[in-house]
Symmetry: C2
Subunit: 246 residues, 2 copies
């Protein structure tokens, strides 16, 4: 069911080892190599692979020895940890231009599972390539540090905004977070109730009740099974009201 590309990228299937893909990459100016010119890209000795995943597939797993980082080009990826007794906790989400698996650059194992929520395209960037580039490109290290800081900011946000207060408040904040990853038609990805529970530390029944309530309040309108349209005005109003009442 779930395929892992972190260690053994296959030369066929979703794997596409053309470095040229970078020069035309839609997220390049925001991504890691935004500061590199085309000449520098041509000189790369190692392959940047283009990977496609369907929702539910695993990009990499916690405890694996990581030999690459990944730039998300489209779709949403969730970072989660699950304990031996089957309990899951989604720690954060990652969307366009985000860089995942930074710990691999330090020779550490991956700290969490990275699982595609929607259909996802990512670039696999080998660690050795980063090492090669940083030798003559000190600007890249600063870029990497900014990536770490961004990950840290996200972690803090989940701690402060999504792990605190009553269930309804947490759900509203989650919807706000999901709106950051809305597609071009303005639709957000709507997780399963189980996943919502793992994100917000509540049971799936509670998540279901909350979503039903928000639908009745016209904050949310499901579109198909895994998507929804948000009314940002109603959402914002609900959040304000929610903040006022504490």
């Amino acid at each position: 069911m779930s395929t892992v590309y972190a260690l053994h990228p296959q030369p066929d299937g979703p794997y596409n080892p053309q470095t040229q893909v970078c020069t035309s990459c839609s997220v390049r100016q925001f991504a890691l190599f935004g500061s590199l010119d085309e000449a520098a890209l041509q000189r790369l000795h190692y392959h940047i692979a283009d990977i496609h995943l369907e929702g539910g597939q695993t990009l990499y797993s916690a405890q694996q020895i990581g030999s690459a980082v990944f730039t998300v080009r489209s779709g949403v990826v969730r970072m989660e940890r699950s304990s031996d007794n089957g309990e899951r906790r989604v720690m954060r989400l990652a969307g366009g231009t985000e860089l995942l698996g930074l710990e691999a650059l330090l020779g550490q194992t991956y700290a969490a599972d990275a699982i595609a929520c929607t259909d996802v395209t990512v670039c696999r960037i080998p660690r050795v390539l980063i090492e090669e580039l940083t030798n003559d490109r000190p600007a890249l290290t600063r870029d990497l540090m900014k990536r770490w800081q961004r990950a840290l900011d996200e972690a803090d946000e989940w701690l402060v905004e999504l792990s605190r207060g009553p269930a309804r408040h947490r759900m509203l904040r989650l919807l706000l977070k999901l709106s950051e990853y809305a597609d071009d038609r303005g639709l957000i990805w709507l997780p399963t109730r189980q996943d919502m529970g793992a994100m917000l530390d509540m049971t799936f029944e509670t998540a279901s009740r909350l979503i039903s309530a928000l639908r009745r309040e016209a904050i949310l309108e499901p579109v198909g099974a895994r998507q929804a349209r948000l009314s940002m005005e109603h959402l914002m109003a609900a959040l304000r009201e929610d903040n006022a009442g504490r």
Copy 2:
């Protein structure tokens, strides 16, 4: 009440601008400059200040423009954010050899308040000094990246271990975390009930009830007002039992 040293270190009082302090620093081999030899330390143009804080004093505040990072040499510091309506959330703790305020190196404002929990000694390391050193010491950048990763690991741990599950479980995990910062006599710093509430997202009454219960169970024995002795065996037993029951 709370003094801020981040922007304007005073030449008198707790401020001690001797670079020599580094060569004899008790945490140097674990800290940022562990890899620097004495000659390199002598060449530093900028002062590393030695700062002493009492419990409750602020090291720096969120939103300040940071011009320095800080190495904790002794004591415990808490990182917290408080919203305009007075709600606080402690995001994590930092103890010996930890490096705080990394975001200052990227020209960002501090992301949280850093407040001394116990009496604390820290080194103030100006950003310009780091910049100077990284020019001819690429190993330092890798060291910095490890610091970022460590902060991220801590953030993840708080998310997974201390922001999830029933109140008693979170309190037990907090005590385990506090045991990492035990002093030489084996005593842990015991936060106020308010602070426990801000760390674990519960009311101070609930925190008080839990601590009282744990005292009755001999997991915890208060020593003075702000300290306690832990029975690690009892604590571990309680945690196992707690994990089994879910």
